[in-house]
């Protein structure tokens, strides 16, 4: 048996180098993923273009609110569907197991992915604001744009927490996909139809408390709507969803699909 060691014992890597390496890889992967691109950018743009083509819809609500609603749908698609599916498929393929046997803290692995999601949410919000301004022929003050981006970050965190809870509570990739889509449709419909009052006052009240309803309310405030009881409820509801579902998502998450 050889008793000598020809190389020094490996040193612990720095947090900065590890996080930088993860960020670079996750950004590259996000840029190469067609699914991410479609979910993050195309969903809100498609929504705004459809509304723009149909002039009657312009009377339906203020342009700023419609743009906010469009961003909400984009955040929902990226956070609830894109993020949860990506995590579920990487978990099923063993990508997380491979990362976890390196001397990297697990919070860095997830932190990098969440940072990439937040950055792409901000990019999507900026693109949606620009496209929305063109479609609806409106301009916004810088304070409104900054407010909109702030609400987008808050909304993105909330939908990522919902996505994290889904992927934590369901082990199979297929189940995450199915439940994510179902949730998306339910929240989309309550967001669009519920908030209009078409489905009655009861559903309208419920819709205000849903993630999409609460977020839309915050966008409305950014665009000059008077502060109301609904706005107070929304500013409580959005962080509350994030905290509760984020806790569930972290507490019950399993890195291993088995």
């Amino acid at each position: 048996m050889t008793e000598t060691r020809n190389h020094p014992a490996p040193a612990r890597p720095s947090v900065g180098l590890a996080f930088g390496s993860l960020l670079r890889a996750d950004f590259t992967a996000a840029l190469r993923s067609r699914q991410t691109l479609i979910l993050n950018i195309l969903v809100p743009i498609l929504y705004l273009v459809i509304l723009g083509i149909n002039d009657a819809k312009k009377q339906f609500a203020a342009p700023g609110l419609l743009i906010g609603l469009g961003i909400s749908f984009g955040l929902m698609a990226a956070g609830m569907l894109g993020y949860s599916l990506l995590v579920a498929s990487d978990r099923a393929a063993g990508v997380f197991q491979r990362l976890r046997v390196t001397p990297t803290a697990t919070w860095l692995i997830m932190g990098s992915r969440i940072t990439v999601q937040l950055a792409s949410a901000l990019l999507m919000s900026v693109v949606t604001i620009i496209i929305g301004s063109i479609v609806f022929h409106v301009g916004f003050a810088w304070t409104q744009v900054l407010g909109m981006l702030g609400v987008s970050i808050l909304g993105s965190i909330m939908f990522l927490c919902i996505g994290q809870a889904v992927v934590a509570l369901l082990k199979s990739q297929g189940a995450v996909n199915a439940v994510g889509r179902l949730l998306y449709i339910v929240l989309l419909l309550t967001g669009i139809l519920g908030s209009t009052g078409i489905l009655g006052e009861t559903l309208q009240s419920i819709a205000r408390w849903t993630p999409v309803g609460a977020l839309t309310e915050l966008y409305a405030v950014v665009f000059g709507a008077a502060w109301s009881g609904d706005a107070t409820a929304a500013i409580i509801a959005v962080p509350a969803y994030a905290i509760v579902l984020g806790f569930v998502g972290i507490r019950f998450f399993r890195w291993d699909p088995r």
Binding site: M1, T2, E3, T4, R5, N6, H7, P8, A9, P10, A11, R12, P13, S14, L17, A18, G20, S21, L22, R24, A25, T28, A29, R32, S33, D90, A93, G94, V95, Q97, R98, L99, R100, V101, T102, P103, T104, A105, W255, D256
Partner: protein, 253 residues
């Protein structure tokens, strides 16, 4: 000092005990084989050493670092090749090499990365994602990632499974080179021939318990007169005869 010290390791999943008081140690520069039928507790044992599974009881020290209390320090001394794992599908193996180098604390420039890939015969595939590589190339790339930090201890979970003889031989040449640099290796395998050929010492385990440990030749000599082994042997007992004699001939899933 041993590079790996496993003492009284117990792993339970609910009511099922996968590892039941296992103890063994690996010295510097040693190739140690962990043998056992399916469900014997090999992968559970490796999972604890890798830091993927907390032990129910017992201690595991990697070069003096406790995997439970100082998991990142212990992991920084390990190179791991998992039985089934994958890499991000969107990244090329060049990008993956940069990523994993960073995770092990190495700053590799493009030349450094290409040099590593070239040494594994993968330079021509550097723009390919992991999934597009052949089985042998995938194993070599996994080995490249595992050896990036010059680990004190390599953990190889069935490293040659599914490889053709040429790829297997090449992989063992790489592993021997690593040992030549002073690294130790813990491997699991179902191939008795491989264990006999490459391992300095082996441990046979079943139902999470240690049944025998020693050099392959020493174990064969120790059990050659055991009636369970004699019943199976056609002529001189082999390591496979001893293995089946000790663990039984019932098929495991």
């Amino acid at each position: 000092m041993s590079v790996l010290q496993v003492d009284g390791l117990v792993v339970r999943y609910g009511g099922r005990t996968a590892v039941d008081g296992l103890s063994f140690a690996i010295d510097s520069g040693e190739i140690f084989g962990l043998l056992g039928p399916n469900g014997a507790g090999k992968t559970s044992t490796l999972s604890v050493i890798e830091g993927l599974q907390p032990p129910t009881a017992g201690t595991v020290l990697v070069d003096g670092e406790d995997v439970t209390h100082a998991p990142l320090a212990a992991k920084s001394k390990l190179g791991v090749q998992l039985q089934s794992s994958s890499f991000q599908a969107e990244l090329t193996i060049e990008q993956l090499t940069r990523l994993y180098a960073g995770l092990y604390g190495l700053r590799l420039d493009r030349d450094g990365i290409r040099d590593r890939l070239e040494r594994m015969g993968l330079d021509g595939e550097r723009a390919q994602p992991f999934k597009k590589l052949s089985g042998g190339q995938q194993q070599r790339f996994s080995l490249l990632v595992s050896t990036l930090p010059h680990p004190v201890l390599m953990l190889l979970d069935e490293p040659t499974q599914g490889l053709d003889p040429q790829s297997r031989r090449q992989l063992w040449t790489e592993i021997e080179a690593l040992r030549g640099e002073g690294g130790s290796i813990l491997l699991t395998t179902h191939s008795m021939e491989e264990a006999q050929a490459v391992c300095d010492r082996i441990a046979i385990i079943d139902h999470g318990r240690l049944l025998a440990t020693g050099t392959p030749a020493g174990i064969v000599a120790e059990y050659r007169e055991d009636p369970r082994v004699r019943r199976l042997a056609h002529g001189e007992p082999t390591l496979e005869d001893v293995f089946i004699g000790l663990t039984g001939s019932a098929i495991r899933d």
